[in-house]
């Protein structure tokens, strides 16, 4: 079982890194790019035999308590059978 956690800055929080990347990308001529926000991605290997529900609960708790700071970030969890 694998959990994938995506951590992104809340829309209201300024993302200076995303802004800098967008600026460079636009200088390169990618004219259709209007915005870039940078985030973090985690792959979490979980014991085989864990149920989907249990894996989702654990990964959600982990994302909430450790991987993200709820004051500035949102997260999304995906569970994958591998």
């Amino acid at each position: 079982m694998k959990a994938k956690v995506y951590v992104t800055l809340k829309p209201s929080v300024l993302d200076p890194q995303g802004k800098a990347i967008k600026h460079s990308v636009q200088l390169l001529g990618f004219e259709t790019v209007s915005d870039i926000r940078q985030g973090k991605y985690f792959e979490i290997a979980m014991d085989n035999g864990v149920s989907q529900e249990k894996a989702r609960d654990e990964a959600t708790r982990l994302a909430h308590e450790v991987l993200s700071n709820p004051i500035i970030e949102d997260f999304r969890v995906e569970i994958e059978d591998v």
């Binding site: 800055l9 929080v13 300024l14 200076p16 890194q17 800098a20 450790v66 991987l67 700071n69 004051i71 500035i72």
Partner: protein, 232 residues
């Protein structure tokens, strides 16, 4: 009166804080390794600057899980004084002892420079020896010092007089140019509601000797010591 300076893997201003307490405040002080959990012999604890856990994940995020942090929470809940400087401020926010968060500087760069900071509130255990409205020169050295919080927290901080320091120019005016990292309303330091926990990004412990450029930070430690002396 006894001080403790907490040492995480990656702390690098611990010796500066130790030096200031022993030489300038003239009080006993210990280093406390982050695996210790007994703070019962201390009257005040300093969480120093540095790069605890290499700033991995987020600045201060992993230090929060060190064993000593549970003890720091209890220590603070009992009303004891906790001062977080730079990375210490980031750790206190991550640990929920102070509201808000410190994110990447507005202009992305790591900034190592002297800044001017205005004293906003002298009615705290950390600032009563300072003059309200006075301008202190202290160094900053951080990449994640951009203070953010939601509107409700911001209103609460203002209403309760918990914004202790603001970045300003040499005349004491808070302007965009004088705000080095993009912090909300130029906030450089705040305290908790009970006023016994304070965090700030500038380094008062590196501004305690004229020879090194400024001694403006000394009164922060004098205030701390004065508070403890009065309570003894």
């Amino acid at each position: 009166m006894k001080f403790g300076v907490i040492v995480f893997p990656g702390s690098n201003c611990d010796h500066d804080a130790y030096h200031v307490i022993s030489k300038h405040v003239g009080q006993p002080v210990d280093f406390i390794w982050h695996r210790s959990t007994d703070l019962s012999t201390y009257d005040a604890v300093i969480i120093p600057g540095g790069f605890s856990y290499g700033d991995y994940l987020r600045a201060g995020a992993l230090a929060r899980f060190s064993p000593v942090m549970n003890s720091v929470k209890e220590f603070a809940a009992q009303g004891n004084l906790v001062l977080g400087i730079c990375n210490g401020f980031q750790i206190l926010c991550e640990a929920g002892l102070l509201p808000g968060a410190l994110i990447r500087n507005r202009d992305l760069h790591f900034i190592c420079d002297y800044v001017n900071v205005r004293v906003e509130n002298t009615d705290t255990p950390f600032t009563h020896e300072l003059k309200a409205g006075s301008v202190l020169q202290m160094p900053i050295a951080h990449a994640e010092g951009n203070y953010v919080c939601d509107d409700a927290t911001f209103e609460e901080l203002k209403r309760e007089g918990r914004i202790i320091f603001r970045y300003c120019d040499a005349e004491g005016q808070t302007t965009d140019e004088a705000n080095p990292n993009g912090s909300r309303d130029s906030i450089a330091g705040i305290c908790n509601r009970e006023r016994n926990v304070m965090g700030l990004m500038p380094h008062p412990e590196r501004a305690c000797e004229e020879l090194l450029g400024s001694s403006d930070g000394r009164d922060v430690f004098r205030s701390l010591a004065g508070t403890l002396a009065a309570a003894a």
